[in-house]
Amino acid sequence: MCGIIGVCSGPEKKFSTGEIVYKGLLRLEYRGYDSAGVASVEEGTLRVLKGKGKIAELEKKLGLSKVKGSVVIGHTRWATHGAPSDVNAHPHTDCTGRIAIVHNGIIENYRELKEELVRKGHVFKSETDTEVVAHLIEEFYRSGDKPYEAFKKAISMIKGSFAILAVFADAPSMIFFAKKDSPLVIGLGDGMNLVASDIPALLEYTRRVITLRDGWVGFITKDNVFIEELGKGPVNPADYVRVVEWSLESASKGGYQHFMLKEIHEQPRALLDTLYGLRSDPALKEAAEILAEARRIFITAAGTSYHAGLHFALTVARITGVLVTPFIASEYESYSRVVREGDVLIAVSQSGETMDTLKAARAFKERGARLIAVSNIIDSAIPRESDLPLYTRAGPEIGVAATKTFTTQTLLLSLLAVELAATRGDLLKSEYEEYVGELAKSSEYASKSLAWNEGVAKKVSEMLRLKHSIYYLSRGIGLPTAMEGALKIKEIAYLHAEAYPAGESKHGPIALVEEGFPVVFVVPRDQYYEKLILGNIQEMKARGAWVVGVAPEDTSLRDLFDVFIKVPASSWITTPITHTPPLQLLAYYTSTLKGYDPDKPRNLAKTVTVE
């Protein structure tokens, strides 16, 4: 997912075209932020500024907002294939440097088109699918078509999903656009027109918009909009103008009240994307081979990622009998001293930039350990320094509290554990197939878990908002999920929460339990643990605790719970995927009911780049 914007304006306007595009890119940063760039046309000259990094950083380095021109287009990228780099950043240009394009989407037939164009002498600079469009337009333009005709012909040849903007040095007042399966909106301003992949980029300048339909192409100038349906003829833009009532803030959240809620509900999609990504990536098997040969395996991370790491360690212990040592990244010095060549460290970080995890990874590498990175951001610091990076495909996560990145991390790490067991020969073929089959259903499980529990979570949050302290208890494979539930409610609802193995209650913590004390039990689908947890629930109930059970639909414990949060009956290995979404909802609704903003928890930052 990427963000694109273009503006046509006269020199007399309050904001320069460069400023408008720069600000628009900042508004679109939630769609991606690993590289960015702009292209402007001024007095017949096309100028491109682009690079890897966040938009604000690039502004300092390149001065994106300083570009001048009658037309400017911009792009902010979220790499899914091909590393973020200066060369791969958009805009992309043709051979002559007189045509520039930005694109959001995927060109499915780019390989065939590229081969053909290379045969005709075109020279490609990047690894992206997008660049092919610039050369295709050039090809038609060179053969005598006018800019718009050349653009249209090129668009009619590409397959896939796209929102594309193009500018020509020889057409200095026009931005050409095309849309199919990727969003694109025109904004009708006062003496200027804009086009962008999403409404937030436009709202500062206009509320009058035209939402483009699939198959529409056309161009804007500062005073006019021309639209046609490819192959069918012109469309009257006036028939499609509407006034946007959204506030700037809500527009970027896709109508959800908070990014966190949006991201919670994106989990089924994110899990499926991660699964498909891993299936087509040989890195997972490579990683399993590295681990199978390892002398010892360590896994490190911070915060939510640490809980994913803990899930990995418990899963590996259960299906392979190999001991994985999990540790919190900031405590790396206690572990790095014992590291030798032949050891392997898995470093898990959503951003790939977490300083504690990075330092742990460097310390291990210095002592000869091999490094496998797990991250959501391609080519970020930790993956870059690793021997082998593995990626979740959760898309950008804006809410500070991790949600979809946790469940996708646990999916990736569970698959890695299963591959490791298979590589070592610890699993029967049928067992391997069963685990992989269950993990392949992650998206469906998360969907059910969310759909079944939104109402229940709202109800439970009405009780939790009156409480000052809460326990999250589990045993075995459920423990990392309980820890994640406790962390979420601490982070965003400012409710003191503690997670520990339920067997520990009698060794101290149960002293705090009194009438109405809330205890959330995370019950994995496992008869052995269910039996153990039964006793733990009873000891809490005997002391008047208010017990919420997050348990499989076929649990035998449901009558013991004051509130039953039903999750799909699946294998124990998917526990974080089935049980975490309702815990996220619980934290979210408790936070909003208490009047807090879950997207901006106090004292916390999304990426922790300090020790």
Binding site: T211, W246, G255, Q257, P268, K448, K458, G516, P518
Partner: protein, 390 residues
């Protein structure tokens, strides 16, 4: 895209007792506005074109109330026959033809205006065959609503008629839709709306848009209480009209809205969240607290207590009444000392009644009385919990 609001539905028997003659449930009041104000505002905000309102022949209060409440362009369509949603939509057929899509809302919904915007924006951006609003459902309500199951892209997989049970990921259909005009063909063939939507989902893409904010489908008296609860939960401050009178010794503690012409007598305590309607009266020493919606020109007699109740316009309550978790019909007269009991026997649960946290660690359902439009309750009557008084 044309706007269509359906306001010809029949109420459940318990809700029906609250509806005045020649009227419809959509004109029952919530926070000073008829229910239908909320969907009409929603569709118009999201799609600035004439709002077509289908109402039942003979229920002239509907066009009258709607016209008096909003100044949007309106057109009224009289439905002469049939009681189903299918027939209501078909009664607007001549208006719908000629447009590709229409924005449809049921008239008995209270939904945030942003939900309509989200629905229309999603539809325009993603261009599916149809787009429908869905809402989360509480487990005990699964059998009360039409449900849809969705895939990971929020495309509708299956539509289940009301009362269906399923193990799939399901949400309730929230009564707001962007539908293609060609759906009329399915309806004309006899399919009901859920079946027609399922037919669209089978042959194309029907997008579901999740709304997790305020959503109340007013079908039962408890829904009126829920609507009051949800809307008043959003009020944050004390807003007292400059044309209201609050006597010096009265206490008004927020969040409370006091409308123009309201009068709050000495020593009365209004402890919000509460809505005190236009020209209403709260007598001396009365206690109005926690989610009370006091309708226009209603009267709370001296020394009364009112809690968590919806009081429709022109209700006259004599002194020393105790009204708890109740719905009082318009123009009803509540005699001196009337008491509504509200603790339900544990096995009773009126449809869709919210459980409230009543003390640490305990949820309870409470329901007082439903008093019919124009009913007269004799002095010192004690009304049993969950009962309907006609």
């Amino acid at each position: 895209m044309l706007n269509l609001v359906l306001a010809a539905g029949k109420p459940s028997p318990d809700l029906g007792v609250l509806v005045p003659p020649r009227s419809n449930k959509v004109v029952l009041r919530v926070l000073g506005k008829p229910i239908i104000y909320y969907p009409v505002r929603g569709v118009y905000n999201a799609n600035k074109s004439t709002v077509h309102v289908v109402y039942r022949a003979g229920e002239d209060a509907v066009p009258r109330e709607v016209s008096a409440t909003v100044d949007y362009p309106l057109e009224f369509i009289e439905q002469e026959a049939g009681e189903s949603v299918r027939e209501a939509i078909l009664s607007a057929k001549s208006r719908l033809e000629g447009d590709d899509y229409f924005l449809l809302s049921f008239g008995d919904l209270i939904v945030d205006p942003e939900a309509y915007l989200k629905l229309v924006d999603t539809h325009l951006e993603e261009n599916p065959d149809a787009t429908i609003l869905v809402a989360p459902i509480e487990p005990h309500n699964v059998e009360n609503y039409g449900l849809v199951s969705v895939d990971e892209n929020w495309l509708v997989r299956r539509v289940l008629a009301s009362g269906g049970r399923t193990a799939e990921a399901v949400y309730t259909m929230a009564g707001v839709y962007v539908l293609p005009t060609r759906i009329l063909d399915y309806l004309e063939k006899g399919l009901n709306l859920p079946e027609a939507i399922e037919a669209l989902a089978r042959s194309g893409r029907v997008k579901a848009v999740l709304w997790t904010g305020t959503w109340v489908d007013v079908g039962y008296p408890a829904d009126l209480l829920e609507a009051v609860y949800q809307l008043l939960s959003k009020v944050r401050d004390v807003e007292i009209s400059g044309k209201a009178v609050v006597e010096k010794t009265a206490v008004v503690e927020g969040p409370v809205i006091v409308e123009e012409g309201a009068y709050i007598d000495h020593y009365a305590v209004v402890k919000g969240p509460a809505y005190i309607g236009r020209e209403s009266f709260i007598g001396a020493h009365s206690f109005v607290r926690d989610y009370v919606d006091l309708g226009e020109r209603s009267r709370v007699g001296a020394f009364s207590e009112v809690k968590y109740s919806s009081i429709q316009p022109y209700c006259l309550m004599d002194s020393k009444a105790t009204i708890l978790n109740s719905v009082l019909g318009g123009e009803s007269v509540i005699g001196i000392g009337v008491t509504t009991l509200n603790v339900l026997p544990s096995e009773e649960a009126p449809p869709r009644l919210r459980e409230h946290v009543v003390r640490r660690g305990v949820f309870e359902r409470k329901m007082g009385a439903v008093i019919a439009y124009g009913a007269r309750v004799p002095p010192y009557t004690v009304l049993s919990p969950g009962g309907v008084y006609k």
